[in-house]
Amino acid sequence: MSWQPIIDGLTQGVRLILTGDRVVMQIALRSLETAAAATGMAALIGMPIGVVIGLGSFRGRGFLKTLFSALVGVPTVTLGLFLYILFSRSGPLGYLQILYTVPGIAVGEAVLVTPLVISFVASAVEARDVGVRDLARTLGASEYESSLAILREAWSGVSLALVSSFNRAFAELGIAMMIGGNIEGLTRVLTSAIALQTAMGELGLAFALSFILLIVVISLNFLIAYLGRER
């Protein structure tokens, strides 16, 4: 009896995947898109900052590093609330009209994971720094070129940063709820759908969606690991 919702959830989850349920597929795709777009934006902004912090030797570097490490732990509801006030029609960025939209969620998740990219990239680059840069310099590379060389050398750390960012964005709930509003057919993503089904007392369906989320996350991570390992 007590295991029933989990068993129901498993069978329902398998059935939803096998039958390719349209609504569930849409929701899962929307989750993938927001998380991927967020990771992309965070990478564009976070990687250069991470390299500068990792390689630089300026005052306040240690402070920045610690600050971004701390920001990795910001609760998603806090960030969601902050962004809601910003994006609200009566807020300072209300004219963008991205509250309750998919791009709004993506931007929010990008803000969430950017500190993570910065911290990871900074640490990865730092660990690779000394030897590679000196070597690149002696071979006549410019500052920019030697930075790129280090980034390549530190790639395992950098890709870990991106994969972790994607996972965090994919699995977060606070921003999807506050910025997305969990609107049916528009901004509902896997996590907010799970929260809603739980609130509706549909525990079996909530479990089914959770399993789908887990399956997507796990297979995606294996795929990336496989591609990275290849030849």
Partner: protein
């Protein structure tokens, strides 16, 4: 050279990641544009009980079938947050159930054209063992006994504690019985732990908490039947339908002259008029949870004018200065109040 080998792998991975990101960005833009294309989006901020019972999906389908030029988006929040969201200009209409908060919403200039749409009753539910011995009592006597038992350490109460319509009603009922909930929440039973538990959660979560803790709680009838039918809870109804247990749902349109207005007044009025039309009212009447009607339509009750007791209860409870919406809070909608 080993470095070169490392580079080759990395660049390949980078290309794959970049492709994924680009596809996602394009997809996101596509998603953003698709459902809104050519349609006016209406944002309705709504109470959780409509949402959690699945009524809003029915409402969305039938409204959009009749008015395909609109896309209705529901955002489920407790009444308190729903009104706050609307006051910030982030919604076009609200569906709520807290007459006292609604009055403020009209008087502070945020809402106009309030109409009552449906009603049902709150229920006082609790464990089958009935530790406070409230079976058969009125709501006031029942609450007095629960407080006495709670203070003695033999009963528990779970409150939503989230400023929702149900929470507002609960506070009012305790007040009617002579108690201040802000004081109850600080009380300790003889073992030193609180007996009045403030959950800060939605109705389903609160019912589940009450069920697990064998506690009493106040619930709307729809959420109760919904969870009972699914076997999530095993709580028993002790105080049911009656004058003091009334739950009245209203629709309020956001004042078009408000700052930061979304500019969708005409669409919002079409939606409100649909809710009070025969079609809209039939949706409430025909919507069943586990085979039971949980939202009783208000307009047919008032028009038929046979059940005058219930009508009087509702008028006393949910009317503002003797009307659903005083004249000065009406905008181009006098025909709705004939």
């Amino acid at each position: 050279m080993t470095e070169k080998k490392g580079m080759a792998i990395n660049q390949k991975t980078a290309v794959i990641l970049a492709v994924i990101v680009v596809i996602a960005l394009v997809g996101a833009v596509w998603y953003f544009n698709r459902p809104v294309a050519g349609k006016t989006q209406l944002i309705v901020s709504t109470t959780t009980s409509f949402f959690e019972t699945g009524f809003l999906s029915t409402l969305k389908k039938s409204f959009e079938a009749q008015y395909p030029q609109y896309n209705v988006s529901f955002i489920s929040q407790g009444t308190g947050l729903a009104l706050a969201t609307a006051a910030r200009g982030d919604a076009d209409l609200v569906l709520v159930h807290a007459p006292s908060s609604e009055k403020m919403f009209l008087t502070n200039g945020t809402g106009v054209n309030r109409k009552i749409i449906a009603y049902n009753y709150f229920l006082l539910v609790g464990p089958a063992s009935d530790p406070a011995g409230i079976n058969g009592l009125s709501i006031v006597d029942a609450l007095k006994k629960i407080v006495a038992s709670g203070e003695a350490g033999t009963a528990l109460w779970v409150s939503r504690g989230d400023k929702s319509g149900t929470n507002t009603k609960e506070i009012a009922l305790f007040k009617l019985a002579g108690f201040d909930t802000t004081k109850l929440v600080a009380e300790k039973d003889p073992s030193g732990s609180p007996w009045y538990l403030s959950a800060g959660a939605g109705m389903t979560a609160t019912l589940q908490l009450a069920d697990q803790k064998s506690a009493y709680t106040l619930t709307d009838i729809a959420s109760y039947i919904n969870n009972q039918a699914k076997g999530n809870i095993h709580l028993v109804q002790y105080v049911g339908p009656g004058k003091d247990m009334l739950n009245v749902y209203s629709v309020i349109v956001i004042n078009p002259s408000m700052k930061n207005y979304r500019g969708t007044f005409d669409a919002a009025m079409i939606f409100e008029r649909y809710l009070v039309s025969t079609d809209g009212q039939n949706l409430f009447a025909n919507f069943g949870v586990a085979g039971q009607t949980v939202f009783n339509p208000w307009i047919p009750l008032k028009t038929a004018n046979t059940d005058t007791t219930t009508i009087t209860w509702i008028q006393n409870y949910a009317y503002i200065n003797g009307t659903e919406c005083p004249t000065k809070y009406r905008v181009q909608a006098d025909d709705l109040y004939k």
